[in-house]
């Protein structure tokens, strides 16, 4: 599943903000985490779920609404107090850093799983939802279903990612494949056909022409031409769902895949070969979200309703790092603000 502004695209945001050199890390670390084991609609929420930020001491601070359904967050690169979430009730927006919120969509859009701001047209927000793709050109105030080129059936959209270097260029991971728009969603065309849902798409922080994707039953894929064409990664299993994929922003050779069935798969040769890295993770190693810390290269794995696990040797050993009982839907890194 896609963090709204991924590790990759957020590197681009560094151009908007110069990190404070006195701090030990250059980025703020956010997660969208559900701590809701056994939660059902109507229950009293006794845990704290939703957006969390790691403070300088490494403790998690909750931000905004206690919502177990937040799947993704995306920040306005001009003003980090403005950000959007994709959650059960629709797309939400805050203008004041999470103190107040508004549900931006209406009854006709439900359960979006991903959201992204176009970094080069930040009033434009793209929303991936079960009915397809919705686009707002006015910071979420109004939404249009811009789906020309998406199939009438088969446009269930799980993940959406704006190109960090070209305005209006977006890739959407749908039920029937990956679709590309180069004109701000006025039209889409399929660039990869899959049997079942595309679960995650990521753009390389090292080379913006390079993209990767994972799917429910069609394995993992890479594109070296900005998503125009795709080739499968060899050696990656496809019998069970691959949930998400990440680059290591500190090492262009490194990639990792998260899977509920396979756990963690890593590659240290740009995807030529893959190795299972589950030793030290709980058994069963039900990995819900994989990520890499932008500053440190630390591999991050959310094990479903268990905890966040981290590895400083790219999966060879693991240790628990808090967020007990959580399932983390996305990792997000924002350049620290100058203080």
């Amino acid at each position: 599943m896609l963090p709204s502004i991924t590790i990759l695209s957020l590197l681009a945001l560094a151009t908007f903000s110069i990190p404070c050199l006195s701090q030990t890390t250059k980025h703020d670390f956010y997660v969208c985490a559900a701590v809701n084991k056994n939660y059902v609609i109507g229950s009293k929420i006794v845990t704290t779920s939703g957006l969390h930020r790691s403070d300088d001491a490494g403790d998690w601070q909750h931000v905004g609404i206690n919502d177990p359904s937040i799947f993704a967050v995306s920040f306005d690169p001009r003003n980090r107090d403005v950000f959007y979430t994709a959650a059960l009730n629709g797309a939400l927006r805050t203008l004041d850093g999470g103190k107040s919120w508004r549900i931006m969509t209406s009854w006709d859009i439900t359960e979006p799983k991903d959201i992204c701001v176009d970094p080069h047209a930040p009033d434009t927000v793209y929303l991936a939802h079960p009915g397809g793709v919705a686009v707002s050109k006015d910071q979420g105030m109004t939404w249009l279903r811009l789906e020309k080129g998406l199939p009438e059936r088969g446009k269930y959209t799980q993940t959406i990612e704006a190109d960090r270097v070209r305005k209006g260029r977006v890739l959407a991971g749908c039920e029937t494949g990956i679709y590309l728009t180069q004109n701000g969603a006025r039209s889409w065309r399929r660039v990869l056909q899959t049997k079942e849902t595309v679960n995650d798409i990521q753009q390389s922080p090292h080379n913006p022409e390079t993209w990767v994707a994972v799917t429910q039953s069609s394995g993992a894929w890479a594109s070296q031409d900005s998503g125009q064409s795709w080739i499968p990664f060899p050696d990656v299993p496809s019998e069970a769902a691959l949930y998400n994929i990440t680059f290591d922003p500190t090492d262009p050779k490194r990639l990792a895949i998260g899977s509920y069935t396979y756990g963690v798969l890593t590659s240290e040769d740009k995807g030529e070969t893959w190795t299972t890295r589950n030793e030290g993770l709980p058994d069963p190693h039900r990995v819900w979200r994989i990520g890499v810390h932008t500053d440190t290269g630390r591999l991050l794995a959310s094990v479903y309703q268990n905890a966040l696990f981290v590895s400083d040797d790219f999966g060879r050993t693991w240790s628990k790092e808090g967020l007990e009982g959580s399932a983390i839907n996305s990792f997000v890194f924002l350049p620290k603000e100058r203080k």
Partner: protein, 633 residues
């Protein structure tokens, strides 16, 4: 996200343990005499309404004011009793509000019941909780109906307030407009292509209660009227699908208990309170929230008579729709062609098979009348126990690996169990002609659970396995003949009994219910069922002889296929994957109307339902938002 409905029911059930005896639940079965005098009918209706309110309110009389929930608060407020205790309890409960429609509905009930009675502090506490506590909308049609009705009413109660006073971040006017738009869209769907969660054993309450609240509390007369019309629509459907108050036929959603003990569902509360012709369920269940304002609505005589004053057998055909399929299907809302045939002694009901809802659908059955339905299993049917992560994903916006386990932990324990009896399957196709059912199964090899399960009640008499292949039995005053197309064996029916929670999801133990399950472990399979009234034959042997004499041919390869003559002298041929034929004429479902039968009639897309009984006629016209009553000359 799954609903907390079962948790709510459990809470209401536990409540039932700590208050007074519940008169109607414990009394003898109510009289089935039709009440001709409308004044007496109203008086008896109000007596039932008052029983609910008094019973719920009595917790305070029992010295347990501190245990009041929002239903008992509302009941006390309705009676004008214990106002200070109600205010105190509301303030206390609003310190930890719930998080979705199953909390929004009770809080609205208390807010409106206490509008002029609760202390200002208590009213402010409710209002404040709608600012501070983020409400999750849920993911099912009943969630949305409750969520938007409650948001509508609260926004109307507190107009002209800005977005920062609501959890939505939207102003009262914006909340009101969005809620109204949803509700009207939902009514439009229902009155053009059919109900989504059709004929549910429990979820009728999640629609009826919001509609009653619109009738009772909406300020906009149009929304009041739409609420009333939709209540009529729902209860007309209930009336035409019950026999002595007990729901018959297929269900979009049911559960492991109600599919067997057919009376034991919330629909029985609504039959009891509206028609007075069956006992209510224990604790009145979610119906407590209906009872509080039930005086504001009463079914019209035409609906009352459909439920209580029948004149022989009838067949009703309805068009419904499936739960919306987000993916892995060529259609979003699949049409459901539902047939119900009800006689004086039994009912046979079905839809055409396939997927209607991923978890809790019941596709077909015969159910028989009993002098008192409580504790009985008056039903017979078969089903393929379909369980598939991808099947879940078609309807739920979830990843493939967690939902199967999650639903079991959330109150649907049988979902991934081989001997389950609840649920539809993409590999089941069903045809019904009057009281004959042909159900065919063509289950791909490798499918989880390569078997068909048939339910045989502990309450059957004279069960015998005939060398002809028919299994004969008697249920009440119905003779039943069940023909399995493939070999089978018997297993005990193990019901689910809820265990105390350990904080890690629902837990159950399985207990022998006394009934049996016919297990047929073959992927090419089928069931034929025929029913008849005992009064139609000299004796059971005569029925058996008549069944044995009927021509019957079937094949299982390459696809299951049946050619037969029914007891009603119809030549039925049905091959899996093809349109069924009756007397050589293929059934054309495309011509199915929204409602077609002696009591309910509507054209597809019409937004207009005609409800008739004898000379009485009521027309619900959603085009003009009007109700018209007439007496047919």
């Amino acid at each position: 996200m799954k609903s907390n409905f079962i948790t709510s029911l459990l809470a209401l059930f536990l409540f039932a343990q700590i208050v007074n005896a519940q008169p109607s639940y414990e009394a003898a079965h109510p009289s089935l005499d039709v009440i001709e005098d409308p004044i007496q009918r109203r008086a008896e209706y109000m007596a039932r309404v008052n029983e609910v309110i008094e019973w719920r309110a009595d917790i305070v009389k029992n010295g347990l004011a501190e245990k009041m929930d929002l239903a008992s608060v509302s009941a006390n407020l309705r009676l004008g009793r214990n106002i200070d205790e109600c205010s105190a309890r509301v303030i206390e409960m609003m310190q930890t509000p719930g998080s979705g429609p199953f909390w929004m509905l009770p809080s609205v009930c208390a807010a409106f019941s206490g509008k002029d009675l609760l202390s200002q502090e208590a009213r402010d506490a409710i209002r404040e909780s709608w600012r501070t506590t983020y409400q999750l909308r849920g993911d099912t049609e009943n969630h949305f109906a409750m969520y938007y009705t409650m948001l509508y009413l609260m926004s109307e109660m507190y107009p002209n307030e800005p977005g920062d006073t609501w959890y939505t971040g939207k102003s009262s006017a914006e909340n009101l407009a969005e809620s109204r738009d949803y509700l009207i869209d939902w009514m439009d769907l229902t009155t053009t292509i059919g109900q989504g969660e059709f004929n549910p054993t429990h979820y009728i309450g999640e629609y009826a209660i919001p509609m009653l609240y619109l009738v009772s509390w909406a300020e906009d007369p149009e929304m009041q009227m739409l609420g009333k019309m939709t209540l009529d629509w729902l209860f007309a459907g209930l009336a035409a699908n019950t026999l002595n108050g007990v729901l018959r036929g297929p269900n979009s959603r049911t559960d492991d208990s109600s599919v067997i003990e057919r009376w034991n569902s919330l629909t029985s509360f609504f039959s009891w309170i509206n028609f007075g012709n069956c006992p209510p369920t224990k604790g009145f269940s979610w119906g407590n929230y209906y009872g509080v304002v039930a005086e504001n609505y009463e079914i019209p005589e035409v609906i009352y008579r459909i439920a209580t004053d029948r004149d022989g057998s009838f067949e009703q055909r309805d068009l419904k729709r499936s739960r919306h399929q987000w993916r892995y299907s060529d259609v979003g809302k699949a049409p459901i062609y539902k047939t119900t045939y009800i006689t004086d002694d039994y009912g046979v009901g079905s839809y055409q098979g396939g997927m209607a809802d991923p978890i809790q659908t019941h596709v077909w059955d015969v159910t028989w009348k009993t002098p008192d339905p409580r504790g009985l299993h008056p039903t017979m049917f078969s089903a393929h126990p379909y369980s598939a992560p991808k099947g879940m994903q078609a309807y739920f916006n979830v990843r493939p690996d967690t939902m199967v386990t999650a639903v079991a932990a959330e109150g649907k324990p049988s979902y991934d169990v081989a001997d389950k009896l609840v649920g539809c399957s993409p590999y089941e196709q069903v045809f019904q002609d009057l009281d004959t059912i042909v159900a065919l199964y063509d289950i791909p090899k490798g499918t989880r659970f390569e078997q068909v399960n048939g339910f045989f009640s502990k309450d059957l008499k004279n069960l015998s396995e005939d060398k002809s292949g028919w299994i004969f039995a008697q249920g009440g005053d119905a003779y039943l003949a069940y023909f399995p197309l493939a070999p089978y064996h018997w297993e005990a029916h193990m019901r689910y009994s809820r265990l105390p929670s350990t904080g890690n999801g629902y837990r159950y133990e399985r207990i022998d219910s006394g009934s049996q399950v016919l297990i047929s472990p073959h992927v090419k399979n089928g069931t034929i069922l025929q029913a008849a009234a005992t009064s139609e034959f000299a004796n059971f042997e005569a029925f058996k002889k008549a069944i044995r004499a009927l021509p019957l041919e079937f094949t299982l390869e390459p696809t299951p296929s049946v050619k037969m003559r029914s007891l009603r002298r119809k030549d039925i041929s049905f091959e899996y994957g093809s349109a069924p034929k009756v007397d050589a004429k293929a059934i054309d479902y495309s011509k199915w109307k929204l409602f077609e039968g002696p009591y309910l009639n509507a054209e597809k897309g019409s937004r207009k339902l005609e409800i008739t009984h004898g000379r009485l006629k009521r027309t619900l016209d959603f085009n003009t938002i009007s109700i018209s009553d007439s007496v047919i000359p």
